[in-house]
Symmetry: C2
Subunit: 269 residues, 2 copies
DNA sequence: TTTATATTGTCTCAATTTGTAACAATAATA
DNA sequence: TATTATTGTTACAAATTGAGACAATATAAA
């Protein structure tokens, strides 16, 4: 939804939308940004439309910046949802009517839409979500306590988390969910939140340090009644938007214990 | 492109297309199906459009069946290409004119298109590609010897192979590129073709057998001047279209040697 | 028929990585 | 000053992988 309501159908590609699953880490759990449209009781992922002359990825980046005020966010396209019946006209009609628009039955926003879905990773603390003109609120919800969402948005969230988990070791997940400097425990909590399981502390630390992607700083005096942890940051070579080739040498994505690691088969002959 | 040329714009969603990277394994290398449009010298991936009431995935499956004659093909959506300038009107105009259509400048096929890209894995030997009415030929090309392709189709192929490589251990790659029964060597060749490297024979065999996804059959007398290899097939539990959950316990996707395997960190406490 | 050859399947053992627990260091609290 | 929780590191056993050796054997060559 753009702010220049009502939108002119000539400005946007028909039948094409995007939705974004904006993921933040609150210190102990993953949260997702959900919009509530006013006077409707309807909850949805923040989404939008593609300008007629706008690159798809640019339109998503623009929409994200409008909603969160943040630029340079880590964004990843993960799936395009294209079922013919995925969006129903009724909820959209309700949203438009709640905003003083009485759409005719052939209004372009009531048509079928294909939605390209993205997930975004951001440092929760840096963001002050502000609802746009269509929305009452723009709120962080823990992933296991989401309200009922319109259309197939619940499926979109599920697939986003699944993809995030699959990509955990290959993409810049921790880097984008945490502040610049963080403790090893915080990094481990990010991994545990995404995987949904506990990890072994000593092995996690050992392998993270061995993977050579972290820089260690002076200790942090956290105020806890115990030894102070070091602070770490990711090495600069791992840039935002860049798929980490170098991490491919240090990470892998499987879950299990009987592992078939293709990497260990590389012949040296 | 459908066979019912000329296509009625009312039958399809405007601005939305799909393209498919159809991958086959010829015994020693990967090949991709490329169409040549007659009287144009233009080469392209087989693609098509989405019916107004058709699910996106169904339209791709329909198009694939029309081109290869095969149903129940393993299909995976991997990216949606949405740059505003990704398709140029000139080549499309040339294709239409070569088929006796003189499109006006506002013809819907000359508009901007977003393309949802899929890769398909098929057993090369089972397929008899047949060109449709628009095309002169429909030919398997080795991935390193592709002709110059229209639009951004070369990028689409590159991204398809990249995705295939990333998914190698998590998806049903070997199962869908090989015949029902195959030798361990053939399976290894599939892996090597996709990864673009050689793998160690003994370790490959050891881990494949340990992974418990194969069934072994009687030996194959292949005609070679050496010991006959066993034949194998994949266990039935691994169904087409199903992401192999069980393989997650046996496979992982990294490449390298200093591996950070999240799976090995799962806490038992 | 016998020998040679290439490939296959398995095994061995060293090298490396991981699982598990122990332990010292230490910042705040009692 | 003693206590407590957490952190960083180490040690050693267990498991996995790297690298090569070797026997088995289906065909070709002699």
């Amino acid at each position: 939804m753009r702010k220049d309501l009502p939108m002119d159908p000539k400005d946007y590609l028909p039948h094409i939308a995007y939705d974004s699953v904006i993921v933040g880490f609150s210190g102990d759990e993953l949260r997702i940004l959900i919009m509530e449209y006013h006077n409707t009781g309807l909850f949805a992922l923040p989404g939008g439309f593609v300008g007629v002359n706008e690159n798809l990825n640019d339109s998503v980046r623009r929409g994200l910046e409008e909603r969160t005020g943040l630029a340079d966010i880590y964004l990843e396209q993960f799936y395009t949802f294209g079922n013919a019946k995925r969006n129903k006209p009724a909820p959209m009609k309700k949203i438009l009517e709640a905003n003083g628009i009485t759409p005719e039955d052939n209004h372009w926003l009531l048509d079928r839409f294909i939605s390209v879905a993205y997930y975004a990773l951001i440092n929760y603390k840096n963001v002050m979500p502000t609802p746009d003109v269509l929305s009452d609120s723009c709120t962080w919800y823990p992933i296991d306590k989401l309200p009922k969402l319109i259309f197939d948005h619940a499926d979109i969230v599920t697939k986003a988390i699944e993809t995030l988990r699959d990509n955990l070791d290959r993409k810049l997940v921790g880097m984008n969910l945490l502040p610049k400097k963080f403790t090893m425990k915080e990094l481990q909590q990010v991994y545990e939140s995404i995987l949904g399981t506990k990890l072994r502390r000593t092995t996690f630390q050992r392998k993270m340090l061995a993977s050579d992607v972290l820089v260690r700083y002076e200790k942090q005096y956290s105020g806890g009644a115990h030894k102070a942890p070091f602070l770490y940051s990711f090495k600069k070579q791992n840039r935002v938007y860049t798929k980490v080739k170098s991490m491919r040498n240090g990470f892998s994505a499987g879950i299990g214990h009987n592992n078939f690691f293709t990497d260990s088969l590389l012949s040296k002959k």
